[in-house]
């Protein structure tokens, strides 16, 4: 089995999708000849042609809006938005149009598209290149939201997203793009959207997270005493999300810490925490704890590690929750 980085796995999966389904079309800024600014689409235009891997004008609203049209006409567009911050100009098309088409038409007109977006901080990038807007889209009924953290999961979730009959926002944690390799099978497989992954089993406390912080959580866990047993859950899908897996785990451990890069207030951690409160109330030994970005603008990179939930702060959160 070949080993791949996150970038490599997504590239390989897009290649597979283009090769196996003539309706798949990739569009975005610099995705063609340049292979995307992160090289995620490297080589795909040369292999599949300019009609299928398309360099568009510099217009995010245009990219998503015209992808809606492509989808309505029966294609499976996979638009790329170059950075998380530039979802802004695309917001209207995504939330007010793509998300609503199925329900407005009572299922007659649908928008099967997969919007790929590099997400999150930690790579010393310029302004508006490090945001984590997943909660905004999870809070927008009609779109699905996923954020794999590993090459293996990225492949399975990307194929599921492309084949999904509804719009999916596929967030790619850029901090993980090249951070490690793992084995990824060459044949196609899907990971069901809405299924979490238990990364580590444990009995004392549940940590729920997604995206790049998975690795910060693992680092924090390494620093804990050996007799502390943590169950780490990588949500992978933000909407729909795997309530059952989380609830089952928290009923077992009685304690939970939710970790994400986005700001705390009205972040997706608030939803996770609220669900746990509703479904695990009698099992809880401590309030659900959140370790997140602060309720500020993501600072420019000199201070980004002060903002991000890095391992020491996560460890502190776990300790506080255990000590309660």
């Amino acid at each position: 089995m070949p080993e791949m980085t996150l970038v490599g796995a997504i590239n390989h999966t897009l290649d597979l999708a283009l090769a196996s389904d003539p309706d798949v079309i990739i569009l975005g800024e610099d995705v063609g000849l340049n292979g995307g600014v992160f090289r995620v689409t490297d080589g795909l235009q040369a292999k599949h042609g300019k009609d299928r891997v398309v360099d568009t004008p510099l217009d995010e609203s245009g990219i998503i809006g015209s992808a809606i049209g492509l989808a309505i006409a029966g294609m499976k567009p996979v638009p790329e938005i170059q950075f998380d911050g530039f979802l802004g100009p695309a917001y209207d098309q995504l939330v007010n149009h793509a998300a609503r088409m199925r329900t407005r038409t009572r299922g007659a007109v649908t928008v099967p598209m997969t919007v790929r977006v590099p997400v999150g901080g930690g790579i010393h990038a310029p302004e508006l290149h490090s945001d984590s807007p997943e909660a905004i889209y999870a809070h927008s009924p009609g779109v699905k939201v996923v954020m794999p953290s590993t090459p293996y999961d990225a492949k399975g979730l990307l194929l599921a997203a492309i084949n999904d009959p509804d719009p999916v926002v596929f967030f790619e944690p850029k901090r993980v793009y090249r951070s490690f390799k793992e084995e990824v099978p060459e044949e196609p497989y899907e990971i069901e959207i809405g299924k979490a992954k238990v990364v580590n089993e444990g009995d004392d406390l549940t940590v729920v997270t997604w995206g790049a912080p998975v690795f910060q959580c693992l680092a924090a866990m390494d620093e804990l005493p050996e007799d502390v047993s943590i169950e780490l859950i990588d949500l992978r899908s933000i909407y729909p999300w795997d309530i059952d897996t989380v609830v089952e785990s928290v009923r077992k451990t009685g304690r939970c810490v939710v970790v994400h890069e986005a700001p705390m207030t009205a972040g997706f951690g608030a939803e996770v925490s609220s669900r746990i409160q509703e479904e695990c109330f009698l099992h809880l030994h401590a309030p659900v704890q959140r370790v997140t970005g602060f309720d500020t603008i993501m600072p420019y990179y000199k201070l980004e590690l002060e903002y991000l939930p890095e391992a020491p702060r996560i460890k502190k959160g776990i300790e506080e929750c255990l000590a309660y």
């Binding site: 340049n34 600014v37 510099l58 207030t265 370790v291 602060f294 309720d295 600072p299 201070l303 002060e306």
Partner: protein
């Protein structure tokens, strides 16, 4: 007559100083005098030095991603001189550094900014410049708004110029800015630095329009294409547009044909998508080369002056780098302090406990907080 022409237009191109340094004297009348040319040449050269040092800082890990201005300096200096410092507003993208400096932004601010520090955008009092705009094509609406305000407030002799790239004209906000400015007839100059590329996308692929300038026709805006590597043409076009603006003639559009000699940013590798022969051809059109040739031809420049200038540029930029790197580290909680005029209580608490708490809070921690109605 069932068929008649209801609208006709043409786009003119203006060049005054050609790439060999030859000046069209007739067109150059009432533009720049030789002292001004020397001044602009020096500004361009100093800015080029900054650009090269910034590139090296990035390569040696002392600075983050940086977009070089190399090759486009004539646009910045020519336009800045035509605008009124301290009165007019500059609403930039990120490839017109020299214009910002000429209008009062201390040079080290630009480095501080690209070193990942918001204080590089803390524009000093009295400098009428908005911060660099990393999001493409969204800031021109702000220029329209500023110009609108000067009209509403009947401010005399005041105009706005906004800079943006060829790629930026694809964004919907660009058209919104143009339409608002035209409909409201505000004193705003839209200055497009058409450097032929938007990262890897060449202009011909960015738009099917033959020129960028013609986009302004849709908004019935006076529009012109100029040689953007020619400081005379740049100065004249902006000066004329400014005159029209302050005399109530509304907005204007300028497409400046120029070229990005460097990679898009230090994070880019242009060899992946563009022909080195193309770059080479444009190197000959470098605004610094032709301006120097002109000055030499009128006996105002020689090797000695050049050496002096280069030494001065090195010294200035050396000081600038020192100032940028010497700025004290921001306080770890700096990013909280400018979120609102008055920090909401919860946010102030996040700031004050960022080192001691995980953010998560227990009822007992919450109990430590004053829970009076007042503090809510």
């Amino acid at each position: 007559m069932p068929h008649r022409t209801v609208y006709e237009a043409k786009i003119e191109h203006l060049q005054i100083l050609d790439e060999d340094g030859k000046l069209d004297k007739k067109l150059a009348k009432d533009t720049l005098n030789d002292d001004q040319v020397i001044h602009l040449y020096e500004q361009m050269r100093i800015c080029r030095e900054l650009d090269e040092i910034a590139f090296k800082l990035q390569r040696s890990g002392r600075m983050g991603t940086y977009p070089q201005n190399k090759g486009q300096e004539a646009n910045a200096v020519g336009s800045a001189l035509a605008m009124k410092k301290g009165v007019d507003w500059l609403v930039p993208a990120y490839r017109e550094n020299a214009a910002l400096f000429m209008h009062g932004l201390p040079m080290h601010y630009v480095l501080v900014y690209w070193m990942g520090d918001e204080r590089g955008s803390k524009i000093p009092e009295g400098v009428n410049i908005t911060p660099l705009s990393v999001p493409i094509g969204t800031h021109m609406l702000h220029a329209t708004g500023i110009a609108w305000a000067t009209k509403v407030r009947k401010e005399k002799d005041k105009a706005v110029i906004t800079y943006f790239g060829d790629g930026a004209t694809s964004e919907g906000d660009f058209h919104g800015a143009m339409n608002f400015a035209s409909t409201m007839q505000v004193p705003c100059i839209f200055y497009c630095q058409n450097n032929q590329w938007a990262i890897s996308v060449p202009r011909e692929q960015q738009m099917n329009s033959q020129t960028v300038a013609q986009k302004a026709l849709a908004y019935d805006m006076p529009t012109l294409q100029i040689d953007g590597n020619d400081i005379f043409a740049v100065f004249k076009a902006v000066k004329d547009a400014r005159k029209r603006a302050v005399e109530g003639g509304g907005p204007s559009f300028i497409e400046a044909v120029t070229y990005r000699l460097a990679d898009h940013t230090t994070a880019d590798d242009a060899r992946r998508y563009r022909d080195p022969a193309e770059v080479e051809a444009w190197q000959a059109k470098d605004p610094l080369i032709r301006t120097r040739l002109y000055l030499e031809s009128v006996g105002k420049w020689d090797d000695k002056k050049q050496t002096e200038l280069e030494d001065r540029a090195k010294k200035i930029v050396g000081e600038v780098v020192k100032a940028a790197e010497g700025i004290e580290k921001p306080h770890p909680s700096d990013f909280f302090n400018f979120m609102y005029a008055k920090l909401p209580r919860d946010l102030a608490e996040q700031r004050d406990t960022m080192r001691t708490s995980s953010i998560g809070r227990h009822p007992e921690q919450a109990g430590l907080r004053p829970q009076t109605a007042e503090s809510r």
